[in-house]
Amino acid sequence: MSCERIQDLLSPYLDGELAPAERADVDAHLEACPDCIDLLGRLRAALSAFAAFPEIDLSENLQSRLAAIPEQSRKRARFSLDFFFKPALQPVLAAATGFLMLFSVYMVSPNKGAINRTISLQFHRGISSIEKLYVKAGSLTDRLGEFANGMFASAKDINPLGRGED
């Protein structure tokens, strides 16, 4: 067995995972190979040193930082739920739900063309209505202007003390 092959087997050898025959082959190689014996010794030293590595305790600072996390997470979760249960948001959510339902109906409808035409017609009707209202508002403004001008002209002719008639 070559030294390279032994290198691959030393880990399972140390873990006790080799079959008896393979273990005997490794033992036979080790008896005759100082390099592999040396490697085995270093591997054992490494594993032994790792086993003696202590666990470090947490600093007080980290402990307090970690202790605050559960409460922060609860607050965060509560905030996100509270937001959706706010009374002021209910009409918005209801409108959004209604819109989504209509949109769903539209998406699955086989008569999308007819719906599109109806929407287009209603849209342009709406635009026309707004335009008419705007024109009416303009004429009303003009009338109000004329009325105001007439009122100012009449006011200029009024003599509040009535001296002109003397």
Partner: protein
């Protein structure tokens, strides 16, 4: 409480992986924030410890890739790890201390996947099957990674003995 049960384990895993005490504290906090936000994703009946350590491992590996840790040095071994007593045999105690210091700095020379496998197996004391569950790779791959890691660390010990390794 989760923090009481797992914080020491997660912090030590982060410290062993990064080698930086300060960064490990920040990362442990980030991992627990992430953990609490992900609790609803845990499937009942599964191994919670493995799930939590997988989350920690993923975070550490992602940060490793993002911040290029391999270019950073580790904290000095003596700064945070208590020394071995070695009162009955001071010479042996000194040699063990030196070996531990070499291994500690040597961890930084291992690629991230091999380093994580070695840490979980040798320092966290997990079985190969548990490491496989945490890292999400087959047991054979874990064994291969641990073997390669052990051989690399043994080489570092050899180089140090021959005076060619720098701490």
């Amino acid at each position: 409480m989760l923090v009481d049960l797992y914080s020491k384990k997660v912090f030590n895993m982060a410290f062993q992986f990064t080698g930086s005490f300060q960064e490990s504290e920040d990362m442990t906090q980030d991992i627990f924030v992430k953990l609490y936000r992900s609790l609803d994703k845990f499937e009942q009946g599964k191994n919670f410890t493995a799930w939590m350590l997988t989350l920690a491992k993923n975070y550490l590996i992602d940060e490793y890739r993002r911040t290029k840790w391999e270019k950073r040095s580790r904290d000095d071994f003596e700064d945070h790890l208590p020394t071995l007593a070695g009162a009955d045999n001071p010479e042996r105690g000194l040699a063990d201390e030196e070996t531990r210091a070499l291994l500690w700095s040597g961890l930084n020379k291992l690629p991230s996947d091999i380093r994580m496998a070695v840490i979980l197996k040798e320092l966290q004391g997990k079985k190969y099957e548990e490491v496989a569950e945490i890292t999400g790779v087959p047991v054979g791959t874990v064994k291969s990674r641990v073997n390669r890691g052990r051989l690399q660390l043994a080489q570092i010990l050899k180089d140090a003995k021959e005076g060619t390794h720098e701490l």
